[in-house]
Protein backbone atom coordinates (compact mmCIF):
# COMPACT_ATOMS: atom_id res chain seq x y z
CA UNK A 1 0.00 0.00 0.00
CA UNK A 2 1.43 3.36 -1.03
CA UNK A 3 1.03 5.86 1.76
CA UNK A 4 2.24 8.85 -0.24
CA UNK A 5 2.10 8.99 -4.00
CA UNK A 6 3.01 12.00 -6.07
CA UNK A 7 2.37 12.25 -9.78
CA UNK A 8 4.17 14.98 -11.72
CA UNK A 9 3.91 17.28 -8.76
CA UNK A 10 4.59 20.94 -9.50
CA UNK A 11 4.40 23.96 -7.25
CA UNK A 12 4.99 27.57 -8.19
CA UNK A 13 5.61 30.43 -5.81
CA UNK A 14 4.15 33.53 -7.37
CA UNK A 15 5.52 36.93 -6.46
CA UNK A 16 3.05 39.76 -6.90
CA UNK A 17 4.00 43.40 -7.28
CA UNK A 18 2.14 46.21 -5.54
CA UNK A 19 -0.71 46.26 -8.06
CA UNK A 20 -1.32 42.55 -7.59
CA UNK A 21 0.17 41.66 -10.95
CA UNK A 22 2.45 38.69 -11.31
CA UNK A 23 6.00 39.90 -11.06
CA UNK A 24 7.84 36.63 -11.17
CA UNK A 25 7.22 32.97 -10.54
CA UNK A 26 9.49 30.36 -9.08
CA UNK A 27 8.99 26.69 -9.60
CA UNK A 28 9.93 25.25 -6.20
CA UNK A 29 8.82 21.72 -7.03
CA UNK A 30 9.10 20.64 -10.63
CA UNK A 31 7.62 17.38 -11.84
CA UNK A 32 8.25 15.18 -8.84
CA UNK A 33 7.15 11.56 -8.84
CA UNK A 34 7.25 9.89 -5.48
CA UNK A 35 6.17 6.56 -4.04
CA UNK A 36 6.38 5.90 -0.35
CA UNK A 37 5.48 2.47 1.01
CA UNK A 38 3.74 2.31 4.39
CA UNK A 39 6.23 1.67 7.18
CA UNK A 40 9.23 3.03 5.29
CA UNK A 41 11.83 5.43 6.59
CA UNK A 42 12.45 7.90 3.78
CA UNK A 43 15.02 10.66 3.88
CA UNK A 44 14.87 13.63 1.55
CA UNK A 45 18.14 15.47 1.03
CA UNK A 46 18.91 18.70 -0.68
CA UNK A 47 20.67 21.99 -0.08
CA UNK A 48 18.78 25.21 0.70
CA UNK A 49 16.22 26.11 -1.92
CA UNK A 50 16.07 22.65 -3.45
CA UNK A 51 12.33 22.46 -2.86
CA UNK A 52 12.41 19.80 -0.18
CA UNK A 53 10.45 21.81 2.40
CA UNK A 54 7.88 22.81 -0.20
CA UNK A 55 7.43 19.16 -1.07
CA UNK A 56 7.02 18.30 2.61
CA UNK A 57 4.28 20.89 3.08
CA UNK A 58 2.31 19.21 0.29
CA UNK A 59 2.14 15.92 2.17
CA UNK A 60 0.30 17.64 5.02
CA UNK A 61 -1.91 19.58 2.56
CA UNK A 62 -0.61 22.91 3.83
CA UNK A 63 0.27 23.59 0.22
CA UNK A 64 -1.75 22.31 -2.70
CA UNK A 65 0.02 21.42 -5.96
CA UNK A 66 -0.15 23.87 -8.86
CA UNK A 67 0.09 20.95 -11.29
CA UNK A 68 -0.09 17.21 -10.83
CA UNK A 69 -1.59 15.29 -7.93
CA UNK A 70 -0.54 14.04 -4.55
CA UNK A 71 -2.29 11.18 -2.85
CA UNK A 72 -1.93 10.62 0.87
CA UNK A 73 -3.26 7.22 1.87
CA UNK A 74 -5.31 7.21 -1.34
CA UNK A 75 -6.81 10.66 -0.75
CA UNK A 76 -6.23 13.54 -3.14
CA UNK A 77 -4.85 16.54 -1.24
CA UNK A 78 -6.73 18.90 -3.56
CA UNK A 79 -10.05 17.71 -2.14
CA UNK A 80 -11.05 20.24 0.55
CA UNK A 81 -13.46 17.74 2.16
CA UNK A 82 -10.59 15.38 2.90
CA UNK A 83 -8.33 18.08 4.35
CA UNK A 84 -8.70 17.16 8.03
CA UNK A 85 -8.47 13.45 7.30
CA UNK A 86 -5.22 14.04 5.44
CA UNK A 87 -3.79 16.12 8.26
CA UNK A 88 -4.64 13.30 10.63
CA UNK A 89 -3.01 10.73 8.40
CA UNK A 90 0.16 12.69 7.83
CA UNK A 91 1.44 14.63 10.83
CA UNK A 92 4.12 17.24 10.48
CA UNK A 93 6.99 18.37 12.69
CA UNK A 94 8.64 21.68 11.85
CA UNK A 95 12.10 23.13 12.22
CA UNK A 96 11.73 25.63 15.06
CA UNK A 97 10.72 23.89 18.29
CA UNK A 98 9.49 27.12 19.91
CA UNK A 99 7.14 28.07 17.13
CA UNK A 100 5.15 24.85 17.04
CA UNK A 101 4.36 24.33 20.70
CA UNK A 102 0.95 25.78 21.43
CA UNK A 103 0.24 24.69 24.99
CA UNK A 104 1.69 26.32 28.09
CA UNK A 105 2.17 22.92 29.73
CA UNK A 106 3.76 19.92 28.02
CA UNK A 107 0.75 17.59 28.30
CA UNK A 108 -1.67 20.27 27.14
CA UNK A 109 0.40 20.79 24.05
CA UNK A 110 0.40 17.10 23.24
CA UNK A 111 -3.38 17.12 23.71
CA UNK A 112 -3.83 19.96 21.20
CA UNK A 113 -4.07 17.69 18.14
CA UNK A 114 -6.52 15.19 19.64
CA UNK A 115 -8.59 18.08 21.04
CA UNK A 116 -8.93 19.52 17.55
CA UNK A 117 -10.05 16.13 16.29
CA UNK A 118 -12.80 16.03 18.91
CA UNK A 119 -11.45 12.96 20.68
CA UNK A 120 -13.26 12.25 24.00
CA UNK A 121 -11.54 13.27 27.23
CA UNK A 122 -10.55 9.81 28.53
CA UNK A 123 -9.10 8.87 25.13
CA UNK A 124 -7.08 12.13 25.06
CA UNK A 125 -5.51 11.28 28.42
CA UNK A 126 -4.68 7.77 27.22
CA UNK A 127 -3.09 9.07 24.01
CA UNK A 128 -1.14 11.80 25.76
CA UNK A 129 0.35 9.30 28.18
CA UNK A 130 1.21 6.84 25.44
CA UNK A 131 2.80 9.35 23.11
CA UNK A 132 4.74 11.15 25.83
CA UNK A 133 6.10 7.81 26.99
CA UNK A 134 7.04 6.82 23.45
CA UNK A 135 9.27 9.90 23.10
CA UNK A 136 10.57 9.58 26.67
CA UNK A 137 9.11 12.84 27.92
CA UNK A 138 6.48 11.49 30.34
CA UNK A 139 8.35 12.77 33.42
CA UNK A 140 8.14 16.29 32.02
CA UNK A 141 4.37 16.27 31.44
CA UNK A 142 3.58 19.07 33.88
CA UNK A 143 6.55 21.29 32.95
CA UNK A 144 6.38 24.50 31.00
CA UNK A 145 7.80 23.99 27.49
CA UNK A 146 9.89 27.15 27.96
CA UNK A 147 12.12 25.38 30.45
CA UNK A 148 12.99 22.43 28.21
CA UNK A 149 16.05 22.08 26.00
CA UNK A 150 15.73 22.25 22.22
CA UNK A 151 15.88 18.49 21.79
CA UNK A 152 13.27 17.97 24.49
CA UNK A 153 10.97 20.56 22.91
CA UNK A 154 11.30 18.84 19.58
CA UNK A 155 10.42 15.50 21.20
CA UNK A 156 7.34 17.12 22.73
CA UNK A 157 6.41 18.36 19.25
CA UNK A 158 6.84 14.82 17.92
CA UNK A 159 4.65 13.49 20.76
CA UNK A 160 2.03 16.06 19.79
CA UNK A 161 1.94 14.60 16.30
CA UNK A 162 2.06 10.99 17.52
CA UNK A 163 -0.98 11.65 19.75
CA UNK A 164 -3.00 12.21 16.58
CA UNK A 165 -2.12 8.62 15.63
CA UNK A 166 -0.97 9.40 12.11
CA UNK A 167 0.13 6.73 9.67
CA UNK A 168 2.92 8.94 8.46
CA UNK A 169 5.06 11.64 10.04
CA UNK A 170 6.81 14.27 7.98
CA UNK A 171 9.72 15.97 9.74
CA UNK A 172 10.90 19.16 8.08
CA UNK A 173 14.51 19.66 9.21
CA UNK A 174 13.64 18.84 12.83
CA UNK A 175 17.26 19.01 13.93
CA UNK A 176 18.44 22.13 12.13
CA UNK A 177 18.26 24.29 15.25
CA UNK A 178 19.56 21.75 17.76
CA UNK A 179 22.95 20.98 19.22
CA UNK A 180 24.54 17.57 18.48
CA UNK A 181 23.04 16.03 21.64
CA UNK A 182 19.54 17.23 20.82
CA UNK A 183 19.99 16.05 17.26
CA UNK A 184 20.86 12.54 18.42
CA UNK A 185 17.88 12.46 20.82
CA UNK A 186 15.45 13.44 18.09
CA UNK A 187 16.80 11.04 15.47
CA UNK A 188 16.77 8.17 17.96
CA UNK A 189 13.14 8.96 18.86
CA UNK A 190 12.14 9.09 15.21
CA UNK A 191 13.85 5.79 14.46
CA UNK A 192 12.17 4.09 17.40
CA UNK A 193 8.78 5.31 16.22
CA UNK A 194 9.51 3.88 12.81
CA UNK A 195 10.77 0.51 14.06
CA UNK A 196 8.37 -0.06 16.94
CA UNK A 197 5.16 1.71 15.99
CA UNK A 198 5.61 1.08 12.26
CA UNK A 199 4.92 4.73 11.48
CA UNK A 200 6.04 5.84 8.04
CA UNK A 201 8.70 8.52 8.47
CA UNK A 202 9.66 11.11 5.90
CA UNK A 203 12.69 12.96 7.21
CA UNK A 204 13.85 16.09 5.48
CA UNK A 205 17.33 17.13 6.39
CA UNK A 206 20.68 18.31 5.21
CA UNK A 207 22.69 16.35 7.75
CA UNK A 208 24.14 13.33 6.02
CA UNK A 209 24.68 11.37 9.23
CA UNK A 210 20.93 11.26 9.78
CA UNK A 211 20.07 9.59 6.51
CA UNK A 212 22.31 6.52 6.67
CA UNK A 213 19.64 4.60 8.61
CA UNK A 214 16.90 5.37 6.10
CA UNK A 215 15.39 2.69 3.88
CA UNK A 216 15.48 5.02 0.93
CA UNK A 217 17.13 8.35 0.21
CA UNK A 218 15.80 10.90 -2.23
CA UNK A 219 18.04 13.75 -3.32
CA UNK A 220 16.44 16.91 -4.62
CA UNK A 221 17.93 19.79 -6.53
CA UNK A 222 16.13 22.78 -8.03
CA UNK A 223 12.74 21.22 -7.47
CA UNK A 224 13.57 17.95 -9.18
CA UNK A 225 14.38 14.52 -7.81
CA UNK A 226 17.91 13.91 -9.01
CA UNK A 227 18.88 10.75 -7.15
CA UNK A 228 16.94 7.93 -5.52
CA UNK A 229 18.08 4.77 -3.82
CA UNK A 230 19.35 3.15 -0.64
CA UNK A 231 21.85 5.19 1.40
CA UNK A 232 24.64 2.94 0.12
CA UNK A 233 23.70 3.51 -3.51
CA UNK A 234 23.51 7.24 -2.98
CA UNK A 235 26.73 7.61 -1.05
CA UNK A 236 28.73 5.56 -3.50
CA UNK A 237 28.36 8.48 -5.93
CA UNK A 238 30.51 10.93 -4.04
CA UNK A 239 31.37 13.08 -7.07
CA UNK A 240 27.74 13.53 -8.06
CA UNK A 241 26.77 14.49 -4.52
CA UNK A 242 29.55 17.05 -4.47
CA UNK A 243 28.32 18.56 -7.72
CA UNK A 244 24.92 18.98 -6.01
CA UNK A 245 26.64 20.91 -3.23
CA UNK A 246 25.96 18.17 -0.70
CA UNK A 247 28.45 16.77 1.76
CA UNK A 248 28.92 13.08 2.25
CA UNK A 249 29.59 11.58 5.70
CA UNK A 250 33.22 11.96 6.72
CA UNK A 251 33.90 8.20 6.72
CA UNK A 252 32.44 7.82 3.27
CA UNK A 253 34.53 10.69 2.01
CA UNK A 254 37.69 9.24 3.56
CA UNK A 255 37.00 5.84 2.00
CA UNK A 256 36.35 7.51 -1.33
CA UNK A 257 39.64 9.43 -1.20
CA UNK A 258 41.56 6.30 -0.17
CA UNK A 259 40.02 4.42 -3.05
CA UNK A 260 41.00 7.17 -5.46
CA UNK A 261 44.59 6.96 -4.28
CA UNK A 262 44.68 3.27 -5.07
CA UNK A 263 43.41 1.30 -2.09
CA UNK A 264 41.05 -1.54 -2.90
CA UNK A 265 37.97 -0.47 -0.96
CA UNK A 266 34.30 -0.97 -1.84
CA UNK A 267 32.16 2.08 -2.73
CA UNK A 268 29.53 3.44 -0.35
CA UNK A 269 31.07 2.83 3.06
CA UNK A 270 28.74 4.34 5.66
CA UNK A 271 30.22 3.70 9.10
CA UNK A 272 33.55 3.69 10.86
CA UNK A 273 33.18 -0.05 11.59
CA UNK A 274 32.70 -0.81 7.93
CA UNK A 275 35.76 1.16 6.97
CA UNK A 276 38.01 -0.48 9.57
CA UNK A 277 36.77 -3.91 8.49
CA UNK A 278 37.46 -3.09 4.86
CA UNK A 279 40.90 -1.76 5.72
CA UNK A 280 41.69 -4.91 7.70
CA UNK A 281 40.70 -6.98 4.69
CA UNK A 282 42.86 -4.82 2.48
CA UNK A 283 45.86 -5.34 4.68
CA UNK A 284 45.25 -9.11 4.93
CA UNK A 285 45.00 -9.26 1.12
CA UNK A 286 48.32 -7.45 0.69
CA UNK A 287 50.23 -9.41 3.29
Amino acid sequence: MKIVKAENLEYEYVKLDEDGKVESTLKAVDGVNLDVEAGDFIAILGHNGSGKSTLAKHINAILVPTEGTLYVDGKDTKDPDKLWEIRQTAGMVFQNPDNQIIGTIVDEDVAFGPENMGVPKEEIWRRVEKSLKSVGMWEYRSHSPNKLSGGQKQRVAIAGVVAMQPKCIVLDEPTAMLDPNGRREVIRTVMELNRQEKVTVILITHYMEEVIYADKVIVMDEGKVVMQGTPREIFSQVEKLKSLRLDVPQVTLLAHELRKSGLDLPEGILSIEELTAALEQCRAGKA
Partner: protein, 268 residues
Protein backbone atom coordinates in the same frame (compact mmCIF):
# COMPACT_ATOMS: atom_id res chain seq x y z
CA UNK B 1 17.13 34.49 34.17
CA UNK B 2 14.29 36.12 32.25
CA UNK B 3 12.82 32.66 31.80
CA UNK B 4 11.88 32.48 35.44
CA UNK B 5 9.55 35.43 35.65
CA UNK B 6 6.05 34.51 36.69
CA UNK B 7 3.21 35.71 34.57
CA UNK B 8 0.30 37.54 36.07
CA UNK B 9 0.48 37.41 39.81
CA UNK B 10 -0.55 33.87 40.58
CA UNK B 11 0.40 32.81 44.10
CA UNK B 12 0.56 29.02 44.30
CA UNK B 13 -0.96 27.57 47.46
CA UNK B 14 -3.14 24.65 48.37
CA UNK B 15 -6.53 26.07 49.28
CA UNK B 16 -10.20 25.63 48.48
CA UNK B 17 -10.21 29.02 46.79
CA UNK B 18 -7.39 27.93 44.46
CA UNK B 19 -9.29 24.78 43.55
CA UNK B 20 -12.57 26.51 42.76
CA UNK B 21 -13.74 26.54 39.17
CA UNK B 22 -12.47 29.77 37.53
CA UNK B 23 -16.01 30.60 36.44
CA UNK B 24 -17.11 30.62 40.07
CA UNK B 25 -14.31 33.01 40.93
CA UNK B 26 -15.13 35.30 38.01
CA UNK B 27 -18.81 35.43 38.92
CA UNK B 28 -17.96 35.79 42.59
CA UNK B 29 -15.72 38.78 41.92
CA UNK B 30 -18.41 40.39 39.80
CA UNK B 31 -21.03 39.81 42.51
CA UNK B 32 -18.74 41.29 45.13
CA UNK B 33 -17.97 44.39 43.06
CA UNK B 34 -21.62 45.00 42.25
CA UNK B 35 -22.54 44.58 45.92
CA UNK B 36 -19.92 47.18 46.89
CA UNK B 37 -21.59 49.80 44.74
CA UNK B 38 -25.11 48.81 45.76
CA UNK B 39 -24.40 49.03 49.51
CA UNK B 40 -25.11 52.36 51.15
CA UNK B 41 -24.62 51.87 54.86
CA UNK B 42 -21.81 51.19 57.29
CA UNK B 43 -23.34 47.94 58.47
CA UNK B 44 -23.22 46.62 54.92
CA UNK B 45 -19.55 47.42 54.66
CA UNK B 46 -18.95 45.57 57.91
CA UNK B 47 -20.54 42.54 56.25
CA UNK B 48 -18.39 42.96 53.12
CA UNK B 49 -15.26 43.33 55.25
CA UNK B 50 -16.07 40.18 57.15
CA UNK B 51 -16.58 38.22 53.92
CA UNK B 52 -13.37 39.55 52.43
CA UNK B 53 -11.34 38.71 55.55
CA UNK B 54 -12.74 35.18 55.65
CA UNK B 55 -11.98 34.62 51.95
CA UNK B 56 -8.42 35.91 52.32
CA UNK B 57 -7.89 33.67 55.34
CA UNK B 58 -9.15 30.60 53.44
CA UNK B 59 -7.08 31.41 50.34
CA UNK B 60 -3.82 31.28 52.36
CA UNK B 61 -2.36 34.12 50.32
CA UNK B 62 -0.19 36.34 52.54
CA UNK B 63 -1.82 39.70 53.21
CA UNK B 64 1.10 41.76 51.90
CA UNK B 65 0.66 40.17 48.45
CA UNK B 66 -2.93 41.30 48.37
CA UNK B 67 -2.32 44.89 49.41
CA UNK B 68 0.51 45.23 46.88
CA UNK B 69 -2.11 45.87 44.21
CA UNK B 70 -3.28 48.94 46.11
CA UNK B 71 -0.11 50.89 45.39
CA UNK B 72 -1.06 51.19 41.74
CA UNK B 73 -4.35 52.95 42.45
CA UNK B 74 -3.16 55.14 45.32
CA UNK B 75 -3.07 58.36 43.29
CA UNK B 76 -6.37 57.64 41.60
CA UNK B 77 -7.89 57.05 45.02
CA UNK B 78 -6.49 60.31 46.41
CA UNK B 79 -7.99 62.28 43.52
CA UNK B 80 -11.38 60.61 43.91
CA UNK B 81 -11.37 61.26 47.65
CA UNK B 82 -10.37 64.90 47.14
CA UNK B 83 -13.09 65.53 44.59
CA UNK B 84 -15.74 63.93 46.76
CA UNK B 85 -14.52 65.72 49.82
CA UNK B 86 -14.60 69.24 48.38
CA UNK B 87 -17.24 69.15 45.72
CA UNK B 88 -20.16 67.50 47.49
CA UNK B 89 -22.80 70.10 48.42
CA UNK B 90 -24.32 69.96 51.92
CA UNK B 91 -23.79 71.23 55.46
CA UNK B 92 -20.33 72.75 55.77
CA UNK B 93 -18.17 71.53 58.64
CA UNK B 94 -14.80 72.91 57.73
CA UNK B 95 -13.49 75.65 55.52
CA UNK B 96 -10.03 76.35 54.15
CA UNK B 97 -9.76 79.44 51.94
CA UNK B 98 -12.40 78.89 49.23
CA UNK B 99 -12.78 75.15 49.74
CA UNK B 100 -15.56 73.81 51.90
CA UNK B 101 -15.71 70.35 53.36
CA UNK B 102 -19.24 69.12 53.97
CA UNK B 103 -20.47 66.34 56.24
CA UNK B 104 -21.95 64.61 53.19
CA UNK B 105 -18.62 65.05 51.42
CA UNK B 106 -16.76 63.25 54.18
CA UNK B 107 -19.24 60.41 54.04
CA UNK B 108 -19.15 59.91 50.23
CA UNK B 109 -15.38 60.23 50.18
CA UNK B 110 -15.03 57.56 52.84
CA UNK B 111 -17.42 55.22 51.05
CA UNK B 112 -15.68 55.80 47.74
CA UNK B 113 -12.30 55.02 49.25
CA UNK B 114 -13.59 51.82 50.84
CA UNK B 115 -15.22 50.76 47.59
CA UNK B 116 -12.06 51.28 45.56
CA UNK B 117 -9.86 49.49 48.09
CA UNK B 118 -12.21 46.52 48.36
CA UNK B 119 -12.62 46.38 44.60
CA UNK B 120 -8.87 46.05 44.13
CA UNK B 121 -8.49 43.59 46.99
CA UNK B 122 -11.40 41.49 45.72
CA UNK B 123 -10.07 41.19 42.19
CA UNK B 124 -6.51 40.64 43.47
CA UNK B 125 -7.74 37.62 45.41
CA UNK B 126 -9.10 36.23 42.17
CA UNK B 127 -5.95 36.80 40.10
CA UNK B 128 -3.72 35.59 42.93
CA UNK B 129 -5.57 32.29 43.23
CA UNK B 130 -6.20 31.54 39.54
CA UNK B 131 -3.56 30.64 36.95
CA UNK B 132 -3.76 32.74 33.76
CA UNK B 133 -4.63 29.57 31.86
CA UNK B 134 -7.55 28.77 34.11
CA UNK B 135 -8.67 32.33 33.79
CA UNK B 136 -8.79 32.20 29.98
CA UNK B 137 -10.51 28.80 30.14
CA UNK B 138 -13.04 30.18 32.58
CA UNK B 139 -13.70 33.18 30.37
CA UNK B 140 -14.13 31.01 27.30
CA UNK B 141 -16.67 28.78 28.97
CA UNK B 142 -18.27 31.35 31.24
CA UNK B 143 -18.79 33.87 28.44
CA UNK B 144 -19.86 31.17 25.99
CA UNK B 145 -23.32 32.70 25.76
CA UNK B 146 -21.78 35.71 23.96
CA UNK B 147 -21.16 33.43 20.99
CA UNK B 148 -24.83 33.83 20.10
CA UNK B 149 -24.30 37.53 19.52
CA UNK B 150 -21.25 36.70 17.39
CA UNK B 151 -18.54 37.53 19.90
CA UNK B 152 -15.60 35.25 19.00
CA UNK B 153 -15.16 33.96 22.54
CA UNK B 154 -13.10 30.89 21.65
CA UNK B 155 -10.78 32.88 19.41
CA UNK B 156 -10.21 35.56 22.03
CA UNK B 157 -9.33 33.02 24.68
CA UNK B 158 -7.06 31.17 22.22
CA UNK B 159 -5.27 34.45 21.45
CA UNK B 160 -4.85 35.13 25.16
CA UNK B 161 -3.40 31.72 25.93
CA UNK B 162 -1.02 31.88 22.97
CA UNK B 163 0.07 35.34 24.10
CA UNK B 164 0.77 33.91 27.54
CA UNK B 165 2.91 31.19 26.01
CA UNK B 166 4.89 33.59 23.84
CA UNK B 167 5.54 36.39 26.31
CA UNK B 168 8.53 34.64 27.93
CA UNK B 169 9.89 33.62 24.51
CA UNK B 170 9.70 37.17 23.20
CA UNK B 171 11.22 38.52 26.41
CA UNK B 172 14.16 36.22 25.98
CA UNK B 173 14.44 37.29 22.38
CA UNK B 174 14.38 40.97 23.35
CA UNK B 175 17.20 40.26 25.74
CA UNK B 176 19.19 38.52 23.01
CA UNK B 177 18.62 41.27 20.42
CA UNK B 178 19.50 43.93 22.97
CA UNK B 179 22.80 42.26 23.73
CA UNK B 180 23.52 41.71 20.05
CA UNK B 181 22.85 45.37 19.26
CA UNK B 182 24.90 46.51 22.24
CA UNK B 183 27.78 44.42 20.95
CA UNK B 184 27.45 46.36 17.70
CA UNK B 185 27.64 49.64 19.56
CA UNK B 186 23.97 50.45 20.10
CA UNK B 187 23.34 52.71 23.08
CA UNK B 188 20.14 52.20 25.04
CA UNK B 189 20.99 54.29 28.09
CA UNK B 190 22.09 57.84 27.31
CA UNK B 191 20.23 60.82 25.89
CA UNK B 192 16.89 62.42 26.68
CA UNK B 193 13.54 60.69 26.42
CA UNK B 194 13.09 61.24 22.67
CA UNK B 195 16.65 60.16 22.00
CA UNK B 196 16.11 57.03 24.08
CA UNK B 197 12.90 56.19 22.24
CA UNK B 198 14.73 56.59 18.94
CA UNK B 199 17.49 54.32 20.16
CA UNK B 200 14.94 51.57 20.65
CA UNK B 201 14.34 51.26 16.91
CA UNK B 202 17.20 48.79 16.33
CA UNK B 203 15.67 46.69 19.09
CA UNK B 204 12.04 46.87 18.03
CA UNK B 205 12.41 46.28 14.29
CA UNK B 206 14.11 42.88 14.58
CA UNK B 207 11.74 41.96 17.40
CA UNK B 208 8.69 42.69 15.25
CA UNK B 209 10.10 40.86 12.26
CA UNK B 210 10.78 37.83 14.38
CA UNK B 211 7.37 38.00 16.07
CA UNK B 212 5.64 37.95 12.70
CA UNK B 213 7.78 35.08 11.52
CA UNK B 214 6.90 33.16 14.67
CA UNK B 215 3.21 33.92 14.20
CA UNK B 216 3.41 32.58 10.67
CA UNK B 217 5.17 29.39 11.77
CA UNK B 218 2.76 28.87 14.64
CA UNK B 219 -0.27 29.30 12.41
CA UNK B 220 1.12 26.65 10.08
CA UNK B 221 1.89 24.30 12.96
CA UNK B 222 -1.62 24.76 14.36
CA UNK B 223 -3.18 24.03 11.00
CA UNK B 224 -0.97 21.00 10.53
CA UNK B 225 -2.30 19.67 13.80
CA UNK B 226 -5.85 20.03 12.62
CA UNK B 227 -6.86 23.28 14.31
CA UNK B 228 -10.02 24.64 12.76
CA UNK B 229 -11.53 26.92 15.37
CA UNK B 230 -13.61 26.02 18.39
CA UNK B 231 -16.16 23.95 16.45
CA UNK B 232 -16.18 20.28 17.45
CA UNK B 233 -13.24 20.71 19.76
CA UNK B 234 -12.93 18.63 22.92
CA UNK B 235 -10.88 19.47 25.99
CA UNK B 236 -8.32 17.51 27.88
CA UNK B 237 -9.32 19.23 31.10
CA UNK B 238 -12.89 20.40 30.62
CA UNK B 239 -14.33 22.70 33.26
CA UNK B 240 -16.94 20.86 35.31
CA UNK B 241 -18.77 22.15 38.35
CA UNK B 242 -18.00 20.15 41.48
CA UNK B 243 -19.84 20.22 44.79
CA UNK B 244 -17.58 22.90 46.22
CA UNK B 245 -18.40 25.13 43.23
CA UNK B 246 -22.12 24.71 43.84
CA UNK B 247 -21.56 25.51 47.52
CA UNK B 248 -19.70 28.65 46.49
CA UNK B 249 -22.61 29.80 44.34
CA UNK B 250 -24.95 29.15 47.25
CA UNK B 251 -22.77 31.21 49.57
CA UNK B 252 -22.75 34.03 47.03
CA UNK B 253 -26.53 34.03 47.00
CA UNK B 254 -26.59 34.05 50.80
CA UNK B 255 -24.16 36.99 50.81
CA UNK B 256 -26.26 39.00 48.37
CA UNK B 257 -29.42 38.25 50.32
CA UNK B 258 -27.83 39.15 53.65
CA UNK B 259 -26.39 42.33 52.15
CA UNK B 260 -29.76 43.29 50.73
CA UNK B 261 -31.53 42.69 54.04
CA UNK B 262 -28.95 44.64 56.03
CA UNK B 263 -29.05 47.44 53.50
CA UNK B 264 -32.80 47.66 53.78
CA UNK B 265 -33.51 47.09 57.46
CA UNK B 266 -30.52 48.26 59.45
CA UNK B 267 -30.42 52.04 59.62
CA UNK B 268 -26.82 53.02 60.18
Amino acid sequence: MMKDITLGQYYPADSVIHKLDPRVKLVGTMVFIVSLFAFRSISCYILATAVLVVIIKISRVPFQFIVRGLKAIFILMMITVAFNLFLTPGTPVFRIWKLTITAEGVETAAFMAIRLVYLIIGSSVMTLTTTPNDLTDGMEKGLGFLKRVHVPVHEISMIMSIALRFIPILMEETDKIQKAQMARGADFESGNLIQKAKNLIPLLVPLFVSAFRRANDLAMAMEARGYHGGEGRTKMRPLEYKNRDKCAYLLMAVYLLAGGLVNYFVRF
